[in-house]
C-alpha cells in the first residue's frame, strides 16, 4: 500500500517531461493508478476532530469541580484548581493524565486515518473507510455526473481540499476528504480523463497546471489562499462568465425572497401599530435572523463566481473564503431553466438552473444546491452560458432561439397557445409556447415570472400528454417532458389539442433517435476518434471538422490545441447533424 501523496513526488512529476509522466503511473497526480492510497494525514482532525477538542474543552471547563472531586478525593477545595494542583504537588500526575488523554486521541485518529483509503482505476473509484463500521463505496467512472473540489475555510488553511465524484442518485457521491490541494486538482484532471475515454497519449496537457511548488510551506499556503479561484491558464478569458458583486447584491435585494421578508416585516409593524403590543416584533427576531442569514449567505457564497468552458466540460467556481468548483462533463445536464424574477425586469437579469442526475440532500456550503449555474446575469451572460451548456446546438441558432425564448409576446419561432387558453393562463397566454429544434426542446412559460425551459433531446426520458375535463372543453392539452428529478419541471399546459398531440408524436420519435446516437458519456473518445480520421479529402475533412465541431463540449479536434476551446465554433459551411452528437463520419455510427 503506497503512502499518501507527498510534495516531493509532486515535484518530481511536475518536472518530468510528458513522456516521463506517462511512465510514472501515467497520471500527473500519481493517485489514479489503481493502487490503494491514503488521504492527507490531517484528515481526522479536519473532518471534525477539532470539534472533538472543542467539546472536550467545554465539558472540562464546565464540570471542572465535579471532575476534580471525582478523581482527587479529599475535602472539597474552594479555590482555584491550578493553585490546588501546585499546592498538593500533584502536577506530574495531572500532566500525565492530560498526556494520556492526548495519546489516546492521537491513536484513535491515527487508526481512523489508516483505515480510510481510496483507489482510482480505469473504471471506477472506490473508497473504504470506517473503524468499527466499515463502508466500501464504489462509483463507476463512465457514469459520473460531475466532479467537484471543495476547499472549506479551515481545511484550506492546512492546504487540503475535498474531492467529490458525483454519481447519479441521491446522496450517492463518492467523497475523498481530504487530499492535499494540488493532489486534488490533479486527481480531478485524471479522473476526468479516464471518464472521458481519452487514451493516455492523447491526453496532452493536463487540465489544471500544477501550481508552483517552490517556496516554503508558509509561502505555499499564502499563495493558495490568495490565488484566483479560476486558474487563468485553464480557460480562455473570453469563454469565462463572471458575476459581479454589485449585481449579486442587487439581485438578492430584489429577489422574491427579499420581498417576502419585507412583507412579513411590514405585517409585523402593522400589527404592532394596531395592537400596540411590542411582542409581535420580538417574535420576529429569530425569523429575521434566520432568513437574513440565508440571504447574506447566498451573496457571500456566490462571490467570485465564474463559469468557464474547459476540455472536460463546464467548470463552475465560486466562493471567497470557502471555495468550490464543479466540473460538469458534457451530456450531464438534463434540463435548463432560464428565469427572471419580477423585479429584475428593468435590469434584464436572469438566472439559470439545471437539473442534474446527482442530488445531495445536504445543502452545499453556499445555501444553494449544485443546480444553480448562473445566480444572476445579463442577457448577454445568459447567451454565453447557454452556449457553454449546450454546445451541440448550432451557435447562431441558439442565440436566436434564446432571444425568442426570452421575449415577450407572441412569437413566430414558438408554437403558442391559442386565445381560448386565456381561461387557464390569464397573463401568459401569449407567451406560453414550445419549440422543437434539432437536439432540444424549448418551452416558454409565464408572463410575470418569465421562464424558458430547454431540455436537450438525448436527456429526455419519456413524454406524456394529458387532458382534463376543463381542457377538453376548451380543446386544449398539456405536454410534459420527463427528465430526472430536480428543480425544473418541463411541462407546458394550455396548448391547442392538435398542436399538443403533434408535439407528443414528434417528441416521441425524436427522443428515440437522439438517445441512440448519443455518445456523450465518453466525450474524449469521440474527440479522439474524430481527430484520428485522416483529413484526406477536403470535403471529408470538412465534414469531419463539422461533425467534430458539433460534438460534445469543447473537444479539441487536434491534440495539441490549447487545452481549452470555447464553445465550438461550428464549421463554416453546413452544420450536418441529424443527430447532433454523432461523433465521426462512418464507422462509429452504430445503429442499435
Amino acid at each position: 500500500m503506497t503512502d499518501q501523496y507527498d510534495e516531493k513526488h509532486a515535484d518530481a512529476v511536475a518536472a518530468a517531461t510528458p513522456a516521463e509522466a506517462e511512465r510514472v503511473g501515467a497520471t500527473a497526480s500519481g493517485l489514479a493508478d489503481g493502487e490503494w492510497h491514503r488521504l492527507h494525514r490531517a484528515t481526522p482532525l479536519l473532518r471534525g476532530g477539532l470539534m472533538f477538542f472543542g467539546i472536550l474543552g467545554i465539558v472540562i471547563v464546565n464540570l471542572r469541580e465535579l471532575l476534580i472531586d471525582l478523581f482527587i478525593p479529599g475535602p472539597g477545595y474552594q479555590g482555584d484548581t491550578v493553585d490546588y494542583i501546585l499546592e498538593e504537588g500533584i502536577l506530574p500526575l495531572v500532566l500525565l493524565g492530560v498526556l494520556g488523554i492526548l495519546v489516546v486521541t492521537m491513536v484513535f485518529f491515527y487508526i481512523s486515518w489508516r483505515m480510510h483509503t481510496f483507489r482510482v482505476t480505469e473504471e471506477l473509484v472506490e473508497v473504504r473507510s470506517g473503524v468499527v463500521f466499515r463502508t466500501h463505496r464504489r462509483g463507476r467512472l463512465d457514469r459520473i455526473q460531475g466532479i467537484n473540489v471543495q476547499r472549506p475555510l479551515f481545511p484550506r488553511i492546512f492546504g487540503t481540499a475535498k474531492l467529490e465524484v458525483e454519481v447519479a442518485g441521491q446522496d450517492a457521491n463518492v467523497a475523498l476528504a481530504f487530499l492535499a490541494g494540488r493532489a486534488a486538482d490533479e486527481l480531478r484532471a485524471d479522473i476526468l480523463r479516464l471518464a472521458s475515454g481519452t487514451r493516455e497519449k492523447e491526453a496532452g496537457a493536463t487540465g489544471e497546471p500544477a501550481r508552483d511548488a517552490e517556496g516554503n510551506i508558509l509561502d505555499r499556503r499564502v499563495h493558495e489562499l490568495l490565488a484566483p479561484e479560476l486558474d487563468p491558464a485553464l480557460a480562455a478569458e473570453e469563454s469565462v462568465v463572471r458575476v459581479g458583486v454589485g449585481r449579486l447584491i442587487g439581485s438578492t435585494v430584489l429577489s422574491s425572497a427579499m420581498i417576502f421578508l419585507v412583507l412579513v416585516l411590514a405585517g409585523a409593524i402593522v400589527a404592532l401599530v394596531i395592537t400596540g403590543e411590542p411582542w409581535a416584533l420580538l417574535g420576529l427576531i429569530p425569523f429575521l435572523l434566520g432568513f437574513g442569514g440565508f440571504l447574506v449567505n447566498r451573496v457571500v457564497k456566490s462571490l467570485r463566481y465564474s463559469i468557464a468552458a474547459t476540455r472536460d466540460g463546464v467548470r463552475i467556481g465560486y466562493g471567497l473564503l470557502s471555495i468550490r468548483n464543479d466540473t460538469l462533463p458534457p451530456g450531464r445536464i438534463h434540463s435548463i431553466s432560464v428565469n427572471q424574477e419580477l423585479l429584475w425586469r428593468p435590469f434584464d437579469w436572469w438566472t439559470i438552473r439545471v437539473n442534474r442526475a446527482s442530488r445531495s440532500s445536504t445543502q452545499t456550503d453556499g445555501g444553494q444546491s449544485n443546480t444553480t449555474v448562473l445566480p444572476v446575469g445579463s442577457r448577454e451572460d445568459v447567451f454565453r452560458v447557454l452556449e457553454l451548456l449546450l454546445p451541440d446546438l448550432v451557435e447562431a441558432d441558439l442565440r436566436t432561439l434564446t432571444e425568442h425564448g426570452l421575449g415577450r409576446g407572441r412569437d413566430e419561432v414558438f408554437t403558442n397557445s391559442p386565445r381560448r387558453a386565456r381561461v387557464l393562463r390569464w397573463f401568459s397566454q401569449r407567451r406560453n409556447g414550445f419549440a422543437l429544434v434539432d437536439g432540444a426542446v424549448l418551452m416558454r412559460r409565464g408572463a410575470i415570472w418569465r421562464e424558458l425551459v430547454i431540455v436537450p433531446m438525448p436527456r429526455m426520458q419519456s413524454v406524456d400528454v394529458r387532458q382534463g375535463p376543463l381542457m377538453r372543453r376548451l380543446r386544449l392539452a398539456a405536454v410534459n417532458v420527463h427528465t430526472v428529478a430536480g428543480p425544473i419541471t418541463a411541462s407546458i399546459g394550455a396548448l391547442d389539442a392538435d398542436d399538443a398531440q403533434r408535439f407528443f408524436s414528434e417528441l416521441a420519435a425524436a427522443s428515440i433517435d437522439s438517445a441512440q446516437s448519443d455518445r456523450t458519456h465518453r466525450w474524449g473518445e469521440s474527440a479522439a476518434k474524430v481527430s484520428e480520421t485522416p483529413a484526406a479529402v477536403a470535403p471529408g475533412a470538412h465534414a469531419a471538422a463539422a461533425e467534430a465541431g458539433t460534438t460534445s463540449a469543447p473537444a479539441a479536434v487536434t491534440p495539441d490545441a490549447a487545452p481549452v476551446a470555447p464553445a465550438p465554433t461550428p464549421a463554416p459551411a453546413s452544420a450536418p447533424t441529424q443527430a447532433p452528437l454523432t461523433p465521426a463520419p462512418e464507422g462509429r455510427r452504430e445503429t442499435e
Binding site: 438525448p458 419519456s462 387532458q467 380543446r475 408524436s505 428515440i512 438517445a515 441512440q516
Partner: protein, 271 residues
C-alpha cells in the same frame, strides 16, 4: 370534433391473449360490420374514418357503449380488423348495448373530443381487473367513511355527519365509474417505445422509449392473485414517467416483462 384516424399496420406481437371471441354477436353494433373486413390481417383497410357510426359521437355522451365488442365477431387473430375497429370506435358509439361479457379486444374507452395522439392497436387490460378494482374501491370507501365518521360518532354533533356522507358519495361515484375506468386502460408496443393510456375524464398518454427503461417490476396483490392477474410497473430515470399497467393476466405479464427487458437491453441508451 371527430378524431379522424388511419389505422396503422398492426404490431407484430399483440401480447395480450385475448379472450376467445366470446362474441355476443347479438350486440350488432351498426358500426362494426361495414368497417371490418373481418378479413385479412395483411392489408390495413383504407382510412376507415368514414365509419358511419363515428357520427354517433354526438350521441349519448355518457354511455360507455363498448363498440369495442363488435370486432369480437371477427376472429381475434386479425389484428388489422381490430385496428380498424379501434379507429372508428374511439368515440363512443351509442348504438350498441353493453355486452354481457366484455372482452379485451377492441379499443379502449375514450371520451368524445378526447385526444388520440397515437393510432394503432391498443391492448387493453383484462376485464377481470374490474373485480379487483371494485373490491378495493369499496373496501377503501368503507374504511374512509368509517374513519371520517368517527368524530361524529364520538361527539354526536349533527353537523359532523356531513363528513361521512360526503366521503360516501365520493366513493359511490368512484365505484360507479370504475367499470369505465378499467376499460380505458390500455397499452401499445410500438417499434421503439411503449405507449400507455389511462383515464377518461383525465386522459393521459405516456410514451417511454425502450432504451430508457431502467426497471420492470411485476407485482401481485392478494386480490389480483385470486383472479390470476398481475401488475407491471416500469421505472425510468424520471420519477414522473410512472407507467403502471394493472390487470394483466399473469402469463402475459411475465412474457411482457421478459420482452421489455430484452428490448431495453438491446436499445440501452445512456442516462
Amino acid at each position: 370534433m371527430t378524431d379522424e384516424q388511419t389505422p396503422t399496420p398492426a404490431n407484430p406481437e399483440p401480447l395480450a391473449p385475448r379472450e376467445p371471441a366470446t362474441a355476443p354477436t347479438a350486440d350488432a353494433t351498426a358500426a362494426a360490420p361495414p368497417v371490418n373486413g373481418t378479413s385479412d390481417a395483411a392489408t390495413p383497410p383504407a382510412p376507415v374514418t368514414t365509419d358511419p357510426a363515428a357520427t354517433t359521437e354526438t350521441a349519448v355522451p355518457t354511455t360507455p357503449a363498448p363498440t369495442t365488442d363488435a370486432p369480437s365477431t371477427a376472429p381475434d387473430a386479425s389484428p388489422a380488423s381490430a385496428g380498424a375497429a379501434s379507429a372508428g370506435a374511439t368515440s363512443a358509439d351509442s348504438a350498441s348495448a353493453d355486452s354481457a361479457t366484455a372482452s379485451t379486444s377492441g379499443a379502449p374507452l375514450a371520451p368524445k373530443n378526447g385526444i388520440a395522439p397515437v393510432t394503432g392497436e391498443w391492448v387493453r387490460v383484462s376485464p377481470k381487473y374490474l373485480t379487483v378494482d371494485l373490491i378495493s374501491t369499496i373496501v377503501w370507501g368503507i374504511i374512509m367513511t368509517v374513519a371520517v365518521g368517527i368524530p361524529w360518532a364520538l361527539t354526536q354533533l349533527s353537523g359532523l355527519i356531513a363528513l361521512p356522507i360526503v366521503m360516501f358519495v365520493i366513493f359511490l361515484i368512484a365505484t360507479i365509474l370504475t367499470p369505465r375506468r378499467v376499460r380505458a386502460i390500455a397499452y401499445q408496443l410500438r417499434d421503439d417505445d411503449l405507449v400507455f393510456r389511462r383515464g377518461i375524464l383525465f386522459q393521459r398518454f405516456v410514451a417511454v422509449p425502450y432504451g430508457r427503461m431502467q426497471l420492470v417490476d411485476v407485482t401481485r396483490g392478494p386480490l389480483a392473485r385470486a383472479v390470476g392477474l398481475s401488475e407491471l410497473k416500469l421505472v425510468t430515470a424520471a420519477a414522473a414517467s410512472n407507467i403502471d399497467i394493472p390487470g394483466l393476466p399473469a402469463e402475459t405479464a411475465e412474457q411482457l416483462r421478459d420482452h421489455l427487458v430484452d428490448l431495453a437491453e438491446s436499445r440501452r441508451a445512456g442516462l
